[in-house]
């Protein structure tokens, strides 16, 4: 299995990506080959300093890089020798089984859209993350930002995508899917959620557990997967990040609060496209890069893409 990694992506790259590779290799085995994509002049010396022999991984040299300030669509189209563009090309050609980057989220999404493309039948792909919970495995929440203007049928599909991701990658046996709303009753909400509720209610494609509210988050009491439009999901996630920032500023130390440190999170797969792609946080540290690599492996091994295709046939 070949896992492509953008070595230039992330605020602390390539130091963080090299660090992440070294950590990941302790957990990977002979079946896993990392394909390191980027300016080899910049990251190879760092690997060599750590006495890594080159046969453990493959190197792909690229000469350009997409910066955070770049227009994602333009940069992806014009910088054809950037690590992100090359990664997607290799993925599309079947030379990679999955691709991960902590670089420009915009360029990663554009790349997904233009190269591997959305799975037929899926209106809009989504990205998901896990919110920690006190009483279980956490809440998978999607979408967290790709699609800020949603329709009820898109939210319905998020129910399927989130459910498959929760089951096959995150280890939930029969994930309960909730619709993020502003009241428990089915008549509550805005036009979007009221219509989405109607679509979800009684469906046979996922285990719909009804509406949840902001105070049902961070708990597996009611649901495992939380469906929201990309606007609401993004606000919820950033508010959760703020809790961690506040706790840190107050000097509060607690193992559970530490789970809100999204800097350690591996990243989010783009759910609903034709190949395994994982996007990391821009501020990823070595541990986050390692987790992003491992998450890509899990998504590939779980055959998530094939399972999603099957569901939307």
């Amino acid at each position: 299995m070949k896992i492509g990694l953008d070595m230039m992506g992330g605020d602390f790259a390539p130091a963080s990506t090299v660090g992440g590779v070294l950590l990941a290799m302790q957990e990977l085995n002979a079946h896993h080959t990392l394909v390191l994509i980027g300016d080899t002049r910049k990251f190879k010396p760092l690997l060599e300093k750590n006495n890594r022999v080159s046969r453990e991984y493959e190197l792909v040299h690229t000469t350009q890089s997409i910066e955070m300030g770049d227009n994602p669509a333009k940069a992806f189209a014009q910088k054809t020798d950037s690590s992100i563009a090359v990664g997607y090309r290799l993925l599309q050609q079947g030379k990679l089984d999955g691709f991960a980057s902590a670089g420009s989220t915009g360029a990663m999404l554009v790349g997904a859209h233009y190269s591997v493309k959305t799975i037929e039948g899926i209106i809009r792909p989504a990205i998901a993350t896990t919110l920690p919970s006190l009483d279980g495995q956490g809440n998978i929440i999607l979408d967290i930002g790709i699609n800020p203007d949603c329709r009820p049928d898109i939210l319905y599909q998020y129910g399927i995508l989130g459910s498959l991701y929760a089951r096959h990658v995150c280890g939930f046996t029969n994930p309960r899917v909730g619709l993020l709303n502003i009241g428990a009753e089915e008549t509550k909400g805005n036009l979007l959620t009221r219509s989405a509720y109607e679509l979800m209610s009684g469906n046979k494609e996922f285990n719909f557990a009804g509406n949840v509210e902001g105070n049902d988050l961070f708990s597996n009491a009611k649901v495992d997967v939380v469906v929201a439009d990309g606007f609401v999901g993004n606000v919820v996630l950033k508010e959760a990040e703020t809790f961690f920032t506040i706790a840190r500023k107050l000097g509060i130390q607690h193992d559970f609060i530490e789970k809100f440190n999204f800097e350690n999170y591996g990243g989010t797969p783009i759910l609903g496209i034709n190949a395994p792609v994982v996007i990391g946080h821009g501020i990823s540290n070595d541990v986050a890069i390692k987790n992003m690599i491992l998450q890509t492996v899990y998504v590939i091994e779980a055959k998530l893409t094939e399972r999603i295709k099957e569901a939307f046939k």
Copy 2:
């Protein structure tokens, strides 16, 4: 000045409302007369047990009460001798200067709509609360639930309402108003926030400070007032409440975290209607009821209703 109080409103009424009245009277003076509306057979003995003499307040006996399970519109129309219906009637007749209740939020909103009515020129009233901040006076956020389907011009008006409330009631000298969004740039967001940004940008009616994100909440670094549609505002508030619940479960004690205990909060004025009305939390305790009474006094003394009318002339 006469402040009407629904003695039957709230999960712990009338014990909590009587408790709140006793606490409030320690801070009120001869200019303030509390008008206690409800089933006097139920709450008067509690007052007497505390040796309160009746000339300190006025009693209005009512025989019906609106329950949490009632349909708000029907209950308000049919239970004409309920404490909420009577309170609004007295308010409309000018016999009260303001009215407060921790009872059915739905019935309080219906009452506002049908009796004192929305100020001319205002598309939709809003309710607001304060999120605590580490570095200042906190963030006023509106709307927190009346209006889950917003238009850009409604969000624009929330900027005016929030700004007036922050300035005249909450003590901000020149409140900066932010638009809750999913990116700092003006091109970010959904259709609603992008259009709202355009309307707000360069306006002369309030001090617009641009977009803010979920991780700008709980801070006065960028803004003092946060404008959101009622769906997003409600999710944000309930997520903040959850933060407090989690901290309590973890046994984390901290003065700042205690500020997230919304049980102590007085309530929220309905901004944009023709009289001062404050809605309390259903789970209000004595302190919350006291704070709700005092907040009603502040809203009256600040002449907030008149100032809003002036702004929308």
